[in-house]
Every structure is written in structure tokens, then in C-alpha cells.
């Protein structure tokens, strides 16, 4: 057992980066305003002071250039961590991650390794509008050769960061921006391997699988519902933990996935499809997904608060599905909207 320290989610990121940099002199960090300004979200506080400008670097506004530089440095044995301030900015750099980094091992007949990490803040809830609020797991999740993780609390932020830096392959970390200020206890000796889901609550009625900021929402929904729900934080989107999820669904016979992503094309479809096709005869009800509607993230506070699955709405759908045995309607179907 290590020591358990209370810290904010963003401090857990700083701690993990610092601990990895202390342990391995090839680890470095670059991105826009990460050095002098210590990060737009203060996720690199103190790092420039401790590790110096050779390893902690500010970049120009050139995402393609510096993401690609991480690919080359990683091939040559460095372990670069790149910060993309908002996930949407990866759009101008996607080639380097998805088409270059993720293909290097394959195209070198196994000779090359690209141990780089790309971190990006994701998600809605802070009034940043539709170009700065998406989660976009699906931009990266259909890329064999690229791992994708998403922490839901300070502990996961710490442990998944360390696991991602240590991983020999490219890893994308999606950091729910709304959680940066959240506090949690962090045990620095706790290892969370990539590809391992976290069972946060044991239960027998329903299996709920959630990711990122939907984990907290699901936890309060479960409390509100009073049901005996097993809550799983998926934590890794690629490669996702089939064993943990399917073992749980086998036990409960019911699966609900809670996602902060548009209904169409979300990562949860994959989970529901796997459970349905592999456990069909053991299911007590149809697995279903609770998602955001197929709309851009609205700016208005009133709308943005409704856009994302709320604890009340998740509780309603869990309760209804258990009672009626049918798949509940989404809030927008109930409102007659589409």
C-alpha cells in the first residue's frame, strides 16, 4: 500500500506526470502554454520548474507539427506526452496520431514502437459551445493500433496516466474537463492497467457501464433509484474489458450503457452489441443505451444541462426498464422532439 492523498483531478494528472518524469528521463511534455503558464487547465503546475525547458516545452499553435514530432521522438526512444487543449483541436492533427503513429508497428514488421501519449480535454457542461464540448471517442476508437482511455476520478487520472506513459504503444487519454477541479483520494501505488474496467459498485439487478463524467452521474442515479445496480467504469474504450463487463451482465441479465456522446456511433453500441450477441439467451431484458441526442452541444446553459444524461433521467430509465421489462424512451422522445 502506498499513501493515499486527497487531491484534485488535475493535480492527480500533474503528480502522475511528475512521478513518471522522475522515474524515466525520456518522458517529456509539450503543448500550447503547458510550460511557462503551467497549462490552460493547470495540469502541468510546477513541471517546468522541476524538469526544465528541455523536457517541458511550450509549442506554437501547430497541433499537427507537435503531435507528429511526438511520433518521431517516440520512435527514437523518447516517451513524449502531448497536450491537445480541447479534443476538437486534434482534428487538425489526426493524421499523425491515427494514420502515422497507430500504423508504425504494423508497417515496420514489428520493429518500431511508438510509446507516445496524447492527452485531450473533452466533454460538455461548461458553456464552451459546440466546437469545444464534444467527447469524440469515436474519432479515435476505430483505430487498431491506438489505445484509448478515459479517467472518471482523480485515482483513475493518476493511475491511467502512469499506465499510458509506460505503455509501449500510442495511447490517447480523454480527460473530462468538467472533472479537473473534482477532489478524490489517490493511492499512488495503485496500478490500473489499460484495458481493465473498474467495478465501482457491486449489484445484482442491472449492470450499468459508464465512462468519464457519466460515471458520477450514474452513481447518483443509482442512489436515487434505490436499485441494486452493478456500476462499471469502463475506463478503457480501446481495448475494452470484455471479461469484466460480460461477466457482470451474465450475473445481472441486464445491461444499460450511459454515454456522453451522440446516440449514433457511440462507443456504447459496441458494448451493447457484444452483450446481445454473446449472451442473448442469458439476458432478462434488452440491453440499451442512455446517450445525448444526435445534436451539436448547445451553448445555452438551460439546453446544455438537458442535453447530457442527468442523474434523474438515468434513474428514471433504470427504474422503468426494471419495472416494465421494456426499453424506456429517451427524454427527447418523451418531449416529442427529434
Amino acid at each position: 500500500m502506498g499513501t493515499t492523498t486527497p487531491m484534485r483531478f488535475r493535480q492527480a494528472i500533474v503528480s502522475a506526470l511528475a512521478d513518471e518524469m522522475r522515474a524515466d528521463s525520456t518522458v517529456m511534455l509539450f503543448g500550447e502554454d503547458v510550460a511557462e503558464a503551467e497549462g490552460p487547465f493547470k495540469t502541468s503546475e510546477g513541471l517546468l520548474t522541476e524538469f526544465g525547458p528541455l523536457r517541458i516545452r511550450d509549442t506554437p499553435i501547430s497541433e499537427m507539427g507537435f503531435t507528429g514530432a511526438a511520433v518521431g521522438a517516440a520512435i527514437m526512444g523518447m516517451k513524449p506526452v502531448v497536450e491537445i487543449m480541447f479534443m476538437e483541436f486534434l482534428g487538425v492533427a489526426l493524421d499523425q496520431l491515427v494514420t502515422e503513429a497507430a500504423k508504425m508497428r504494423y508497417l515496420s514488421n514489428g520493429k518500431l514502437s511508438v510509446p507516445m501519449v496524447v492527452r485531450a480535454s473533452v466533454g460538455s457542461g461548461l458553456g464552451f459551445g459546440c466546437q469545444h464540448s464534444q467527447t469524440l471517442e469515436n474519432w479515435v476508437a476505430a483505430t487498431p493500433g491506438l489505445k484509448v482511455v478515459c479517467p472518471s476520478d482523480a485515482q483513475a487520472a493518476y493511475s491511467l496516466m502512469r499506465a499510458s506513459i509506460q505503455d509501449p504503444d500510442p495511447v490517447m487519454i480523454l480527460e473530462p474537463r468538467i472533472l479537473y477541479a473534482e477532489r478524490g483520494d489517490v493511492d499512488t501505488s495503485l496500478v490500473l492497467p489499460i484495458g481493465k474496467a473498474r467495478v465501482l459498485r457491486k449489484g445484482s439487478d442491472i449492470t450499468v457501464v459508464a465512462l468519464g463524467q457519466m460515471v458520477n452521474v450514474s452513481r447518483s442515479a443509482i442512489e436515487k433509484s434505490g436499485l441494486d445496480v452493478e456500476l462499471i467504469d469502463l475506463a478503457t474504450v480501446v481495448p475494452w474489458d470484455r471479461e469484466t463487463v460480460l461477466t457482470s451482465v451474465k450475473k445481472t441479465g441486464r445491461l444499460v450503457v450511459v454515454e456522453e456522446a451522440p446516440k449514433s456511433g457511440g462507443w456504447g453500441s459496441e458494448i451493447v452489441a457484444a452483450a446481445t450477441s454473446e449472451l442473448f439467451s442469458q439476458l432478462k431484458g434488452a440491453p440499451f443505451r442512455i446517450t445525448t441526442p444526435d445534436v451539436p452541444v448547445p451553448y445555452s446553459g438551460v439546453l446544455e444541462a438537458r442535453f447530457v444524461p442527468t442523474a434523474d433521467d438515468v434513474a428514471r430509465q433504470l427504474t422503468e426498464s426494471l419495472k416494465s421489462g421494456t426499453t424506456p424512451k429517451s427524454w427527447w422522445e418523451l418531449e416529442g422532439l427529434k
Binding site: 499553435i61 501547430s62 459551445g129 439546453l303
Partner: protein
């Protein structure tokens, strides 16, 4: 003629109206901080304090049929082009009175009657789009032009270089205006760019280029007119670098403590409002009394705008589902 087109016409014709529009922008931006503190605005917002001359100078030269792409730092350009303060503040407050009905927010302002494309919050995002608008003018043989306004930091993104090269080889009627306000977020431009005069980058594309004093509306008008005339007459693109200064922090959260001591004060001596006042007083168009009245009237006007926007309804849930697609059709 719509009220917004009238607002546009006013700044195209009259130097005092241009000054008033600059005061409107100044007063508008100064209200934003208070509204944040009061919880009337959420998210983030990027002020253009100190950059009013560029916005109004540009609007005074362009026609409403010309097309402008701009950025998240767009309140001033939107107001200058003629959007009503209610349409802009309403959008910033997420209300139905806003130009996007409250679903866009501070970073996304637009009005196609005035030629303003939805402002982009992605660095470089609007540049190729402006080139595309210019392409449509070239193919249709109109003499309209497109303008892309972007920051100093944007000259380091791929879209800048790709678009300049494309515009040059296609000889497009587009004007690239780099608003060099010395900072990109918290980084002084010299820390990210090995070049002081950013307009020099056009040399690699054999494109005409120059810098101008962005604090002086007269200099803005002269420079933009030269580039617009070239574009309208088939002479192709121009890169203009307007030397300005960002008086406020990058965004709402930023107090700009990274600035060298005395830098802000040095630039404030050339406050575009002051520069314009001096020239209008010298020409006899304004005097101290008139200036005081313009400022106090504007204060009252903007206070009324705030009240109107505060009273405007929140958007309905249905509005989040609108304007994603239009019903599909097959054939012409």
C-alpha cells in the same frame, strides 16, 4: 432596408459614425466582465478591447455582399459589420434574441445579410472557408471579395500556409488580415514565432503583403482599400498584418500577468479610441462636449441592450434539434 444593413451603411459613410461604433464596441466589451461576475454569461469569452479600429475600419471599406470569416474574438467585428448589440450580447448570454438563438455562444456569431460567416473557434478554421467564398466570386465573375481575419498565433497552423498558397496559385479575390495583437493565449508571439513581421510569410507564396498601424482607423482603411481594390479587379490575394494590442487577457479567466511591465501602458498611449478622437477633433468634426455626449449616450444605450437581453427568453428544448439538417431532396 433592415436595421442591421442601416447600421452597416452608417459606418460606410461617416467618420463620426465610425467613431461611435468604436465607442459602442468599447462600451460593449467593458460590460462583459460585469455580466460574467453577475452570472449572466457562462463559459468563456474573448474581448477585443484595443482592436476596435481594425474592426470598424474593415467594415467601413467592405460591402455587405463581401464575405468575412473571423474568430472567437469576434464581438467587435460583428458589431462593426452591423449586427445589433442585442444580437451579439443575446448570443453571448445564450438567449433567443441572440444571432444564433442562443445555441452558439460568444465564439460563434454570424449574419449572412452582412457577410459574416459563423465565427470559428478553431485556429485557422475560417481561412480556407474564406478562400472558398472567394473562389465562388471568381467562378461567378462578380467583383465581391472575401476577407479572413485571424490572429498572430494562427500563422503557425497548417491552414494558414495551405490557404495562402492555394489563394496565390488560384489568384483568388481574398484578403488575409492578420490581427497581430502580440499574444496567442498566454504566449508572447516572439516565443512561438521566429519572425517579427508576420506579413513577410506571404513572400513564400509570391503574394503582395504589408503591415499597417491597427490602432489607427485611417491606416486600416487605406491598407484594406488597397488590398480590396486589387482583389476586386482580378489582382488576387493580399496578406495584411495589422499591428494591434490585446488590452485585456486572452479570455475571461486570464489576468495577463505574463506581460512585460509597461507594455500595456505603452500601447494604451496609442489607444485607437484616442487616436480617432484626436483626428476628428483636429478636423473639426468633434469637440470635447460632443465626445462626452457620445460616450454617455452609448453607456445608456448599452445598458438598455443588457436589460433587453436579460429579459429575452431562454431557448426552448426544441431549438437544440433545429438547423442540423434540412429535409433531403433528390435532383435539382
Amino acid at each position: 432596408m433592415s436595421a442591421e444593413l442601416k447600421r452597416r451603411k452608417a459606418v460606410q459613410e461617416d467618420a463620426v459614425a465610425q467613431y461611435e461604433r468604436m465607442i459602442e464596441i468599447r462600451e460593449f466589451e467593458e460590460q462583459i466582465n460585469g455580466l460574467f461576475a453577475a452570472g449572466s454569461i457562462r463559459g468563456t469569452t474573448h474581448l477585443c478591447l484595443g482592436q476596435e479600429a481594425l474592426a470598424v475600419g474593415l467594415a467601413s471599406v467592405l460591402r455587405p455582399t463581401d464575405i468575412v470569416s473571423a474568430t472567437y474574438r469576434g464581438h467587435g467585428i460583428a458589431l462593426a459589420l452591423g449586427l445589433s448589440p442585442e444580437a451579439v450580447l443575446g448570443e453571448i448570454m445564450g438567449k433567443t434574441i441572440g444571432c444564433c438563438g442562443g445555441v452558439g455562444g460568444s465564439m460563434h456569431l454570424s449574419n449572412m445579410e452582412l457577410g459574416l460567416l459563423p465565427t470559428s473557434a478553431i485556429i485557422g478554421g475560417g481561412m480556407p472557408v474564406a478562400a472558398g467564398a472567394a473562389l465562388s466570386f471568381q467562378v461567378r465573375k462578380t467583383d465581391d471579395v472575401a476577407v479572413a481575419v485571424f490572429g498572430d498565433g494562427a500563422t503557425n497552423i497548417g491552414a494558414f500556409h495551405e490557404t495562402l498558397n492555394l489563394a496565390a496559385i488560384w489568384n483568388l479575390p481574398v484578403i488575409f488580415i492578420c490581427d497581430n495583437n502580440v499574444y496567442g493565449e498566454y504566449s508572447r508571439i516572439n516565443l512561438t514565432t521566429p519572425l517579427e513581421d508576420l506579413h513577410m510569410r506571404a513572400d513564400s507564396y509570391k503574394m503582395p503583403h504589408f503591415s499597417l498601424d491597427g490602432m489607427d482607423i485611417g491606416a486600416v482603411q487605406k491598407g484594406v482599400t488597397e488590398a480590396v481594390n486589387r482583389a476586386r479587379s482580378g489582382g488576387g490575394p493580399t496578406l495584411i498584418e495589422a499591428k494591434t494590442y490585446r488590452f485585456a487577457g486572452h479570455s475571461r479567466a486570464d489576468q495577463a500577468l505574463y506581460r512585460p511591465e509597461g507594455e500595456l501602458e505603452k500601447w494604451q498611449k496609442r489607444d485607437p479610441i484616442k487616436v480617432t478622437e484626436e483626428s476628428l477633433v483636429a478636423s473639426g468634426a468633434l469637440n470635447a462636449d460632443k465626445i462626452a455626449k457620445i460616450k454617455s449616450d452609448m453607456k445608456t444605450t448599452i445598458e438598455k441592450v443588457v436589460a433587453t437581453c436579460q429579459a429575452s427568453p431562454e431557448p426552448s428544448l426544441a431549438s437544440m434539434f433545429q438547423n442540423i439538417f434540412t429535409p433531403a431532396k433528390v435532383g435539382r
